[in-house]
């Protein structure tokens, strides 16, 4: 086997391990945070601070009986959880975790880029895979052969298609600013500090990092709202509104198949936050403290910075869930089609005009 293949295999295994253990941490963190915001204790029995509660839950789900409804469409019923899980793992592959590493194996130097795959169409890859993820919800809802999941599936597909449009459109100005569809290039275009031509502002502005969130704050807002809706989290969780639809599209799933949907939801949430951090918050960029810290520690600083940004966004996800009531269905559609999509179109045109002026100057001069 060639070394490149081995490196690729190691990378895929690391991604798998990181995403799975990270989900355990994430579920515990969410339960603890929501409990804190609602003046409850939350899980506190299994392990220190109840951190092993998720492990216990996972074992419980693995050992449970798996029930399939008699009227279920067998093939599609079994396929749906797999379609849910696969894109969530694949999306993480394109998120850059750090700068290129130089590794010496057997006297040879290998440049290992700290990203699963640096695609020159990375943004499109992300959008394509998140549109594939819609199938899992639709198929799970339809194949269960039951009314509540079908309603949940129809709702979910309409919601995810609507917000995908807003999400894609809000990313276009970011692509215009960065001049690339590759996530690695988008991160490196955000290095350095902000600069401005206005002389008074330049001394203040030069302390602020050159992240896309500052020139593109409206695109960030639209993208973040669409991301919350895309992963079907509160306040956009009409898909599984328990008062109306019991459990939504996964009502008829039990045991490990339910756990696969659960896992996919949390991995998608983590992916969305990591992608938001990459597009708008500079990704892995941050001070590495080269002189002060030992070299190993400063080498993993980029991962720590990306983690800090991602978990800050995840905290906002949980905070929103604990704070806001669920939207009504017509309000949801109105927000998507009548607010977010026109706003992102206007913002796209404004960004294009500003970039055009910067590039070519005023048309009459």
């Amino acid at each position: 086997m060639s070394t490149e293949l081995i490196i690729a295999l190691i990378k895929s295994n690391i991604v798998l391990a990181v995403l799975l253990t990270n989900t355990i941490l994430l579920i515990w963190l969410e339960r603890k945070l929501v409990a804190g915001m609602q003046s409850r204790v939350g899980p506190d029995r299994a392990g220190p601070f109840g951190i092993l509660q998720t492990v216990a839950d996972a074992i419980k789900l693995l050992l449970k009986e798996q029930i399939m409804p008699l009227k279920a469409d067998r093939a599609m019923y079994l396929l749906a959880p797999i379609i849910a899980l696969v894109p969530s793992f694949l999306i993480f592959m394109i998120i850059p975790l750090g700068p290129d590493l130089n590794i010496e194996i057997g006297g040879k130097n290998y440049m290992v880029d700290f990203v699963g795959a640096d695609l020159n169409v990375g943004v499109l890859y992300f959008l394509a895979l998140s549109s594939i993820a819609v199938y899992s919800v639709v198929l799970a809802g339809w194949s269960s052969g039951s009314k509540y999941p079908l309603l949940g599936g129809v709702r979910a597909s309409a919601q995810m298609i609507s917000y995908e449009a807003a999400m894609g459109l809000s990313l276009v100005p970011v692509i215009l600013y960065s001049g690339s569809l590759s996530l690695v290039d988008i991160v490196s275009s955000q290095s350095g500090n902000l600069s401005t031509t206005v002389p008074i502002l330049s001394s203040i502005v030069s302390f602020i990092p050159n992240w896309n969130i500052f020139p593109q704050f409206i695109a960030f807002g639209i993208f973040f709202i669409a991301a919350v809706a895309e992963v079907n989290r509160a306040p956009f969780d009409l898909v599984e509104a328990e008062q109306e639809l019991v459990g939504g599209f996964h009502t008829e799933y039990s045991g490990f198949r339910f756990a696969m949907f659960f896992l996919a939801e949390y991995i998608n949430m983590f992916n969305m936050c990591a992608i938001t951090a990459t597009f708008f918050l500079g990704g892995w960029l941050g001070p590495t403290f080269d002189g002060f810290l030992p070299p190993i520690l400063s080498a993993i600083m980029p991962i720590i910075w990306l983690g800090v940004k991602t978990f800050a966004l995840l905290f906002i996800f949980v905070w929103i869930r604990a704070t806001l009531p669920r939207l009504r269905y017509d309000q949801l559609m109105e927000l998507g089609w009548k607010r977010l999509i026109p706003a992102s179109l206007v913002w796209l045109i404004l960004s294009a005009i500003v970039l055009g002026l910067r590039e070519f100057g005023l048309p009459w001069s």
């Binding site: 020159n120 169409v121 394509a128 549109s131 639709v138 079908l150």
Partner: protein
């Protein structure tokens, strides 16, 4: 070796997907067969270094168009059984006849000396990649006029669809 595997695996999936589209009884299964075909076709595009076309294929056809198909199939009810009687007299014989003609044509091509059974792909160094920059460069300079015409055509079609839907809704509310 790897190239051959990367060709034959998605190629056989394309054929399996196409067969599901034709033979499956359930409309949802048909739609999923088409999705399989479209996604496998995207893999073939990637092996041809046309990454942009592959991603657009996934995003537009597999992602958007087929989701809408599935949505419509679910909305209009999938429990209706398809009619299995022939709508054209002697349909079965006609199909078999056309199939035989097609097979004999393909066999002629395969046997004739013009065709080479060169299925082992020589490693080709591509100097041309289907990158977005390249496609955009051609699309927005050389082909800008047809491109704009097509976009106007699409807007006209969308506006027409909205106008048609709006009119019937108004009549219904008046009546």
């Amino acid at each position: 070796m790897v190239e051959a595997l990367l060709f034959f695996a998605p190629a056989s999936l394309i054929i399996i997907g196409a067969l599901i589209v034709i033979f499956a009884r359930n409309p949802v299964h048909n739609a999923m067969g088409l999705v399989l075909t479209l996604v496998s076709l995207a893999i073939i595009y990637i092996t041809l270094n046309a990454t942009f076309v592959a991603m657009v294929q996934m995003l537009v056809y597999a992602g958007a168009v087929m989701t809408l198909f599935l949505f419509v199939i679910m909305m209009i009810g999938v429990d209706k059984k398809e009619q299995s009687t022939d709508s054209i007299k002697g349909q079965t014989f006609l199909v078999i006849g056309v199939f035989l003609i097609l097979i004999s044509l393909l066999a002629y091509v395969a046997v004739s000396s013009e065709f080479k059974w060169d299925l082992w792909f020589p490693p080709v160094e591509y100097d041309l990649e289907g990158t977005p920059q390249l496609i955009a460069g051609v699309l927005f300079t050389e082909w800008i006029f047809p491109f704009e015409i097509i976009s106007i055509l699409l807007i006209v079609a969308t506006a027409a669809a909205i106008a048609l839907a709006y009119d019937t809704k108004k009549k219904n509310s008046n009546a």
